[in-house]
């Protein structure tokens, strides 16, 4: 039974990886098509033209959310753009072309199907092991990438974030393949230190936090690229990365990055607290500067800094985006390097030296 289930899990994960690669290719194709669309009508717009266009779109397109009830009728006349805070609005999704290309639709469909198989792989692994599937690095990678894609799909129900699909799926493909090559271990029983319900809580919350930080990382990268493009446009330099024109403006990307990262931060705070409670039960102290604790603390402080940067003059925009990227780099370091190479109590990689 265990053997069968664990081999189902292995086949399913190969299928998942294949489909994620397909979805990734579709997302890339979509970006390429966005580039083609964006470059087709006008080649280079001067700053003057752009300002004119921005003024036009302010009065026409960028209307606030429409009133939800029919009672607020025709007399409503919102005369100014409520959002955007001084960004050139020309990069918004109002360029005329439909946002959803066939490649994008296909990419999302394949991602959903792949995610379902990924879920199957994760659940069968869990049943095969007779416990939650996140007790070693392979299982953590398996569940972690599942949650990253899950959160990506979930957030898309509320905001259209499909444009970061390339980043997210690219990241997930690399993580899964890396894990498959370096972290795979067969099903093994749980060591006594992990036999606790805190394993369920602490790790699941950590995984969810990581997933939000991953999404925040993807958005921060998009933000930096967008800000770079906007700056070049400001200076009337030749345009770069034309697909970015179909993405939201840098200010909106910055706001989205922030909102995703603060959710990650809350999960991370809870990870720290839950970890401390568990550490008290298992190791006799709630905090002992174990290497993994240190890095979890460092990540918390970096993101706390990121949140403060939002309220600090001169730190909004690109600098805070870099903090978000550094924060996620620390998350990856904590997982990929600290677990394997650092000496400490959190040595549950399941890998033999």
């Amino acid at each position: 039974m265990t053997e069968t289930l664990s081999s189902i899990s292995e086949y399913a994960i190969f299928a998942t990886m294949f489909l994620y690669v397909v979805a990734f290719v579709c997302f890339v194709l979509d970006l390429a098509q966005r580039s083609a669309r964006a470059t087709a009508p006008t080649a280079v717009r001067s700053a003057v033209e752009r300002r004119a266009a921005a003024a036009a779109s302010v009065s026409s397109a960028a209307s606030p959310a429409s009133p939800s009830s029919g009672a607020a009728t025709a007399t409503l006349a919102p005369p100014t753009a409520a959002t955007g805070g001084g960004v050139p609005a020309d990069g918004a999704r109002t360029d005329g072309a439909p946002t959803t290309s066939r490649a994008l639709k296909l990419a999302m469909t394949v991602t959903v199907v792949a995610w379902a198989i990924h879920l199957l792989a994760d659940i069968t692994r869990g049943i095969a092991a007779g416990r939650v599937p996140w007790a070693n690095m392979w299982e953590f990678s398996l569940t972690g990438t599942l949650v990253i894609v899950g959160i990506f799909l979930l957030v898309n129900l509320r905001f259209d974030l499909r444009y970061v699909g390339t980043f997210v799926l690219g990241l997930v493909c690399v993580l899964l393949m890396w894990a498959q090559v370096f972290y795979y271990v067969p099903v093994a029983p749980l060591p006594p230190a992990l036999q606790s319900y805190w394993l369920v809580i602490h790790i699941l919350v950590a995984i969810t936090g990581t997933a939000f930080f991953a999404l925040g990382f993807a958005l921060a990268v998009a933000h930096l690229l967008q800000a770079w493009r906007e700056r070049r446009q400001e200076l009337s330099l030749p345009p770069v990365l034309p697909f970015l024109k179909s993405l939201p403006g840098s200010v909106e990307l910055e706001n989205l990055t922030y909102r995703v990262n603060i959710i990650g931060f809350i999960f991370w705070t809870f990870t720290l607290i839950a970890g401390a409670i568990w550490a008290e039960k298992a190791w006799g102290r709630y905090w002992g500067w174990d290497t993994k604790e240190v890095w979890t603390f460092i990540i918390w402080v970096i993101y706390a800094g990121y949140i403060h940067a939002r309220a600090t003059r001169g730190w909004r925009g690109s600098r805070s985006a870099w903090l978000s990227i550094i924060g996620f780099a620390a998350v990856m370091f904590n997982f990929g390097v600290v677990n394997v190479f650092f000496h400490g109590l959190h040595s549950y990689s399941g890998l033999t030296n």
Partner: protein
């Protein structure tokens, strides 16, 4: 903010070296090893306090500065917030059209400006806004504000962080930790003289610890015995103990990993275990002079263990013995002294025996786990005429030089117990929960102002203006204004305001 940001990033950076280099508190053996491996670098890093990073002067300086700047930030904010909570919402701005989510609408015919504003006020009030109505004759307006909890949460978050720091500091002074190795069947009484090591805080009265006792009746360790990849992995550690509280009441319970014993305000953890071979020594006449279980410290995952036995009296010479114990020794006697499985499948000991003055009478404190072989003569072992003594369970061999004999007469388990007392950790938890609660409210409760203004023009029509102002992050402000407009218009259209229905 700039100072806080700078100090936060500095703190993150300063925490890094402590993870790269072993720390005295969590890994003292690692520090010793580091000294051997890096003889030139060690004194420099040691001077820089890198081996105790988190209590070093520079690390402490950063976090203390951070908290000083935090206090400097909190005090004026608390005052300001209290003032804001006591004050009424400010006067409606003259030009609402400059505010976020600005919308205009016309009131249905027959509704006066005062009625429209009263309806809006009731509306906002029911949405938990604080409201105040202004009327300057030409215009009537309602000014409303909500979300004071956002700032409250933010202040609670920061004050709770401060609370954690203070409480941890106090806990360090009043808490203590101790270690004790107990062989099964033995009892330890919780007094400072009985500990193998004891680290009391500055204000701990070491002579008055709660004098309970714990007898380790049994320690069961289960290993994975299947021939898979995880063969030999421990599945369970289960110590059966009889605990006797300081008031004399006694009960039987279990200590397991993740399941400490909480007794008389302290916690007893099972953090390590190993084997304690029983060696019986007889003198030349066959009289038993020593027979006891000695804890041998595990050296690998298959519990190849090393220990020291000292025979200070009863024989014609003092003996110091370094022993290797293997729970599952290789059957090939020429093989290396390494156990192949942590369970007791083929227990053997291999002893190197030294004779001479052990120095136990000199009054110098000695470690029970180490033997200083200086001045001793090896009488059985690799460099002696007699080879090392190699015994299976129940076997007896003669000691060299006709000193007598040694018997490997049994194997017991030992439990390594950690005893901790931290009077403030409950408070740390309380503050940690406050941190989380404060964080949630400060990030998700929107703080915003809303205004509705009514102007009657020459024709008698009532023109309504709506707008909002975000105070802090508020991505849904525009939606909120839109839904206020919708609901207000609906209320006016239904005419419910005339009967004073809210």
């Amino acid at each position: 903010m700039r100072t806080a940001l700078f100090l936060l990033l500095l703190l993150a950076l300063a925490a890094v070296p402590g993870s790269l280099v072993p720390q005295r508190t969590s890994d003292p053996n690692g520090v010793t090893q580091y000294k051997v491996d890096h003889p030139t670098l060690y004194p420099i890093l040691d001077k820089l306090q890198v081996f105790s990073t988190y209590s070093s002067v520079w690390f402490s300086a950063i976090y203390l500065l951070l908290f000083v700047s935090l206090i400097g930030c909190i005090i004026p904010r608390v005052k300001h917030h209290v003032d804001a909570m006591l004050a009424k919402p400010p006067k409606t701005p003259f030009r609402l059209s400059r505010m976020a989510g600005y919308r205009e609408a016309e009131a249905p015919a027959g509704v006066t400006a005062a009625e429209a504003i009263e309806a809006a006020r009731a509306q906002l009030k029911s949405a938990r806004y604080r409201t105040v109505v202004f009327d300057d004759g030409r215009q009537t307006s309602v000014s409303a504000e909500r979300g004071y909890l956002r700032e409250t949460g933010n202040l609670v978050f920061h004050i709770a962080l401060l609370g954690i720091l203070v409480v941890v500091g106090i806990g360090g002074g009043f808490g203590w930790t101790a270690q004790r190795v107990v062989v099964t069947g033995q009892t330890f009484v919780n007094t400072s003289v009985n500990f193998d090591s004891f680290n009391p805080g500055r204000f701990v009265d070491s002579d008055n610890l709660p004098a309970y006792s714990v007898k380790v009746d049994d320690l069961k360790v289960t290993y994975d015995s299947a021939n898979g990849d995880s063969r030999g992995q421990a599945l369970d550690y289960d110590a059966t103990v009889t605990a006797t509280r300081k008031d004399g009441s006694s009960y039987r319970t279990h200590i397991k990993v993740n399941h400490p014993l909480r007794i008389d305000g302290t916690s007893v953890y099972l953090l390590g275990n190993g084997y304690a071979p029983v060696l019986t020594f007889r003198d030349a006449n066959g009289k038993v002079i020593k027979s006891e279980a000695t804890p041998f410290l595990p050296e690998d995952s298959n519990l190849t263990s090393q220990g020291v036995v000292k025979v200070a009296s009863g024989l014609s010479e003092q003996l110091g013995i370094i022993g290797i114990f293997m729970p599952t020794a290789p059957t090939d006697t020429d093989a290396q002294n390494l156990s192949s499985y942590p369970g007791l499948n083929n227990p053997r000991v291999s002893l190197t025996v030294y004779a001479g003055d052990l120095g136990v009478d000199s009054g110098q404190p000695q470690s029970v786990y180490a033997l200083d072989t200086k001045g001793l003569t090896q009488i059985a072992g690799p460099t002696a005429k007699t080879k090392g003594l190699n015994l299976g369970l129940g076997e007896t061999v003669k000691l060299p030089n006709g000193l007598g004999s040694v018997t490997f007469s049994g194997v017991k388990r030992f439990a390594s117990l950690d005893i901790h007392h931290d009077p403030t950790q409950g408070w740390v938890l309380v503050f940690a929960i406050l941190v989380l609660a404060g964080l949630l409210t400060s990030l998700f409760v929107p703080r915003r102002r809303m205004w509705v203004k009514a102007t009657t023009d020459a024709s008698g029509a009532v023109r309504l203006e709506y707008a909002g102002l975000a105070r802090g992050e508020d991505p849904r402000l525009d939606e909120a204004v839109a839904s206020l407009v919708a609901a207000h218009q609906k209320r006016l259209a239904l005419g419910g305001f005339k009967n004073g229905k809210a």
